[in-house]
Symmetry: C2
Subunit: 269 residues, 2 copies
Amino acid sequence: MTKPETLAALDRAALSPAEARELFRDGLVTPTAGWAGGYAQANLIIVPKAQAFDVLLFAQRNPKSCPILGVLDAGETSGPLLAGGDIRTDVPRYTVYVNGEKTADPTDITDYWRDDLVTFIVGCSFTFEAALQEGGIRIAHIDQGTNVPMYRTSVRCEPAGEMSGPLVVSMRPVPASQVADAVRITSRYPAVHGAPVHVGNPAEIGIADLGRPDFGDPVDIPAGHLPVFWACGVTPQAAVMESKPTLAIGHAPGHMLITDARDSAYLVP
Amino acid sequence: MTKPETLAALDRAALSPAEARELFRDGLVTPTAGWAGGYAQANLIIVPKAQAFDVLLFAQRNPKSCPILGVLDAGETSGPLLAGGDIRTDVPRYTVYVNGEKTADPTDITDYWRDDLVTFIVGCSFTFEAALQEGGIRIAHIDQGTNVPMYRTSVRCEPAGEMSGPLVVSMRPVPASQVADAVRITSRYPAVHGAPVHVGNPAEIGIADLGRPDFGDPVDIPAGHLPVFWACGVTPQAAVMESKPTLAIGHAPGHMLITDARDSAYLVP
């Protein structure tokens, strides 16, 4: 592709996934909301093979928060979801955990790579945001140009082997008259978190202050809107922080892998 | 429960899953179609922990044939899908594979049990048959009182580690005027094989003779009916026969685990 002279001139939504990945590989660092319209973005969790069964079973037991779109075998750095790409370089920013502690947030993980690392590519709710907008529901964090607010909850995931942790949710304010539409539309995308896990009462799931998200940025909740909560693909990273594998690598929240899969591939009847 | 004096007196559809499992535990051997109406029946595949990641990844990569409903950790013999039950005794008949060869079809696997065995509980198309009937579509093998016909195809599954093998399908003849209804209805049950994988041309998927199924019994295909093929939960057993783990245990085709999950739990909008 021809490189734009400035980032401002870039039509992010019109890029192909491969073009977007190439920009990130070449060093561009940015949240990815709104990029490569119509293509599915994804969360990452990368662990050594010794932990891979526990992670995959954790995902199977917690499908709303950890819907697996694809798995790269131990040592593999590319696959059909990122044809011609490289999982070590093609995400704008990563998060590295050593023994459960966040130790770095590099823009490239080539120096951390090992031949026993297994990559899990996990669905992201950005996929259903276009469908919500198409359905007439405004997305506050897109309107405000910020990262979606995410919260650790008091809801525990189903554990699997050594993996356990809290459910992490993303939140979007929805007018009371459109809550049913939001449920109906997102329930048709089970592979990217599906229907909400909770509507309207943050205290009940252990969220004390919506104004202080654990990840991302706060958004205003206008009068007449309810906070609606969807399971979030940051959940496996929260489990990694509790379960302390020797090494784990995720994406930085909001800085997703842009895959070659169409959003529409994950729509069910 | 009070034991019926004779099997003929038994109202199979009215039994609870726990009552049905108790009968099988006590030695009754029978195919399970029509038992415990409204409750999901399931395929089994049980392997040593050393093979468990490959089996789970194979299932993740082949979700139409291997939709996982639940996993019992290494050595576990019960779980929420069979509350109070025992996976070693509660299925009417099992199939045991040693190095990929079928060596026995016992009615109890207690003698084979090891503390490193992991049990995968896999969705079964019996779940959507009631919905098809409710939609006015007759099910030939139920009308004829036989086991559903199943075929190995020439379609290869996506491999995972050491697991690879052919897609196995079940077949139901459907009147041409109802094929669209059959697709629409079953597509709403993705956790139990979902929409058909093929309609109308068995030769194209390597089935030479519909009259000679690889598992189950043949059914007539009346004039004006098309053979419709759904992915089948016997697929992991076919992979086990190719991939030759030291030990694997499945259910005998048609002799399913009756779970405590409602069929309706697997319905998507």
